[in-house]
Point group: C2
Chain length 635, copies 2
Amino acid sequence: MPKVTFLPANVTVEVPAGETVIRAAMKAGVHINASCGGAGVCGKCRVFVEEGEAEGEPLPEGGFKACTLTPKTDLVIRVPVESEVDRRALLRPIGKVATSWLEARGPAEFPLAPILKKYYLELDPPSLENNLPDFPRLETALLAELAKEGVQAQKLDLDWRLLKKLPYVLRKKDFKLTATVFKEDPWPYLLEVEAGDERARFWAVAVDVGTTTVCVQLLDLVSGEVLAETSDYNPQISYGEDVISRIEYARREGALQILQEKILSCLRRLIEELGAQKGVSPQDISFISVAGNTVMSHFLLGLEPRFLRETPYVPVTTRFPYLPADELGLPGGRKARVFLAPCVASYVGGDIVAGVVAAGIAREEPLSLFIDIGTNGEIVVGNQDFLACAACSAGPAFEGGGIKCGMRATLGAIEAVHIDPVTLEPMILTIGNKKPKGICGSGIISLLANLFLEGVIDQSGKYRRDLKHPRIREGRDGYEYVLVWGKDSATGEDIVFTEADIDNLIRAKGAMFAGYQTLLESVGLEINMVERVILAGNFGSFLDLEQAITIGLLPDLPRERFYFIGNASLLGARLAAFSAEAVKEMERVANMMTHFELSAHPGYMDYYVSALFLPHTNIDLFPTVKELLAGREGS
Amino acid sequence: MPKVTFLPANVTVEVPAGETVIRAAMKAGVHINASCGGAGVCGKCRVFVEEGEAEGEPLPEGGFKACTLTPKTDLVIRVPVESEVDRRALLRPIGKVATSWLEARGPAEFPLAPILKKYYLELDPPSLENNLPDFPRLETALLAELAKEGVQAQKLDLDWRLLKKLPYVLRKKDFKLTATVFKEDPWPYLLEVEAGDERARFWAVAVDVGTTTVCVQLLDLVSGEVLAETSDYNPQISYGEDVISRIEYARREGALQILQEKILSCLRRLIEELGAQKGVSPQDISFISVAGNTVMSHFLLGLEPRFLRETPYVPVTTRFPYLPADELGLPGGRKARVFLAPCVASYVGGDIVAGVVAAGIAREEPLSLFIDIGTNGEIVVGNQDFLACAACSAGPAFEGGGIKCGMRATLGAIEAVHIDPVTLEPMILTIGNKKPKGICGSGIISLLANLFLEGVIDQSGKYRRDLKHPRIREGRDGYEYVLVWGKDSATGEDIVFTEADIDNLIRAKGAMFAGYQTLLESVGLEINMVERVILAGNFGSFLDLEQAITIGLLPDLPRERFYFIGNASLLGARLAAFSAEAVKEMERVANMMTHFELSAHPGYMDYYVSALFLPHTNIDLFPTVKELLAGREGS
């Protein structure tokens, strides 16, 4: 990867090939004025190439647009003085994302041995001396194969309808056939019979059904490879952005069926797309492994979600039987089985269980804290000996929900922000380098951390009333900072960040932090005993660790303890498709997980109230932030 | 029961109330001329009441029509000399049916404990302290109930679709509910949940699917009572009288589905009829217990029957999984389970297994021979230690099939015949006392035995050519005996009994007898070691033992060893509905039964050829018939 050194700050970062210099600067913590999000239209982001080769759009007055400039070799870049960071900014640690858990450690290891297996058998054709009926003939041979693997089964169960085609299948290729067996406890179950050797045609699908996004992977059960991957919004979004509003909607007559059909038809479509890409007929899918939160799992099966949100928060079930795909209208017919990751409680679902299994933290000694910050923050703490979990009512603020100009992390969302300490002018980057439409989670955290660190807002999240700056004003909704002027935005409207937004964010991060504290206390531990913090969800990979710690969203632990794991839920679903042991591990993990209802914990409210401050009322909990602030004060 | 004494023969028989004197005479072996089958139209059956009171139609010349006369007290009846039996007839033992096995012994005993059970549970409603999800809440309580019964299950399986209604059912009556559990091995399976206490509403259906007749009983699973019973012809008859012709028909495109739908719609209709009689909705049926032969079982499930009749005679399966009733389109919905009695081989089916279980012969010491003479004769020999079985290709002769004037045992069928030894005039009785239409099984045996004993046919089944009698003639199909003249028959046509008919019958009974011999020899036993002969099927109850032995259809054993058990298949199906132990016993019996393919046995052909004689080429096998014939010769 090329290295880019920024002058005069003299900071060097590595950037992936094709990355723009403006993104390198954001990563380096070097401020470059940029109001178009990297769209190449505002022309403010002038930089000069002092050493090395780069490609980009030159500006008439000399230099290049940093948002178009990509290194061909290592570069030395000079940032013009008007956009240079002042010395206070140098005190700020270089923006750092957490280490990739998967790159550092890899996913938890399970043998490639799916819970479904295809057996190729060459049976003796029947004769007068050996006139066993067709099914027991097959059963005897299959049980013998299973016995070789150490599976001592007394009988083979089956869907009786297979008996209808069995005689034809047996006789089509002279009693040579492939039998697909589901190794369910305690009796193996015959799912499919095919004439001849069809072992190579063996596919599965892994699905992460998120409240917002649905991700699907097409898997080759023979090679253990991911053949293709796709994702889309969960189409239930049009009936409510979050699970609570969808549960409310589901109370209407027929609405639950609508929500169920929406997600099912989305899955059908995505699976068909993937199949078409790889020449796999959806009817040839044998296994569909799904991880979703408890509410999504209920919707997927059409189960009443109402009691999930009414005290005492009771799911219909947290363990799901394997379902024949055709009973859900999913591809693969009767032979295919749908597996849903077990859930723990109404708000700690199969996505978290799958994630914990994927991370492998329940099989290792070190104490880990697993955090999924989404609409609802879920946290798990534990190791091989115990697991405790809880849901934090964090709300959707970190997904842009309840934030005036918030949006989901899609094209045009401001994903990173830097505020010039001197001019208080912002530098922004948008997803896809489009004109900015709004701010998404990582941008919101950047912005909040910057405004706080530069002293634009105080520890309670209020704008300093004494700062006279055109971007800080009293708007319709109270004090606000104008991040993007209407002329630079995609909508033509100003993109602002209000005190009400900040209040929402402080409550959200406070709920998370109080959650860590309460959960750890419940099991007799303290935050600094946590040896690893694993951040799940797409969020984790974009999150600037320093900023998240600065605002008190993440605990102030040594940075090397932080990892992001990405979509661990999808990864867990994939592991379950590839390995019966991963399925068992999910059951074990779900059983191990002790769920704590935070709101019922006597200390929770105190922790929460204490956390409604930046970073926290007890600054000693955030020693590096304390130091940073002290540096700032001292400047 | 009134006693009727016939003079001058001086024979006394007991007859049930309402029985006619002519039927009493037939039972007593007393000949009364009667050509209208008891329809009261021919006026030939004049008798005089010497003592006692009776009701009936007087004849103008004095006396009464015997076919209309019913005793009100014990009677002494004088038969006019012209219809008196001669002394030869007196040598003939009094017609005797076998003892009723059920009256003498009762059916095999099993505890009233169906494989399905309804549990009434009062669960604790959920609270914050106890917020188990709905299903595990129910599961925990149910497993505790099961544990009290000694069932140690680790989990409860269920149809996932029950989860859809579970939350509503639980909350409808404050977490009081009735759970229907299927105690399948190894995990119990939750079939249904109902709010409140619904234990009393618990019904099943027992079904005997015969090739010709379908019998259905509505059962109360709580009381163990048969609430109602009905039967009808198997509507598949229109596609072939016997299994072979139906298997042939099934080869046509779509024909198997037609045959399946025919039997299923028949069952639906009969179950609805019974339900309507007793106010039980078919949807409230929980269990459908079916016994049928292997071919009928294949048709019921729509399984390919073709290989049942092609060597080496391989069924698709002989063990059937429990099927959800709705998958077959049978009443009871998803909760109801359809049980099919296990089969043994292509031509020894679940009807025989059910019958053996009903008779209880596999749980007792004495050596029993279980015989079902239908389209295909099935025989089982054994006791608690072993069971051997075989199918005899006897053909449908004893059901009237392949007999020129043969018919099934329906209204107007001649069911009993007596031939006057002197005049060779017949006395006939028809089912329902209707004008005769044809001859059914028991009538055919009567006729054959009479013709043989009176010397009208010889031991090879040929009419004696030297007998000059108007009823014996050479017809279109060779020599024949006119049993009913056209003027007395329902059709206006003569009812005749041809040498070809006799030949068919001899081959049929020869196949049966060779079957007994071969099967017994296969297990190292001889016929006279058989301590009980149990005759199953409707046939058994009407069969005149002496006549059946006379023609060599049944072995010549002491008469007290013979029993009839009636529809043992239906009885077995009923036992299985009432008791899980009977289900297990069926599996045990099916596993115990060693099937012998008679045609593959080297000695079978010799036995068969030796049996093509009346009663047998080796007359010493039939000592009482030998004696009878010796008496006849000596007269």
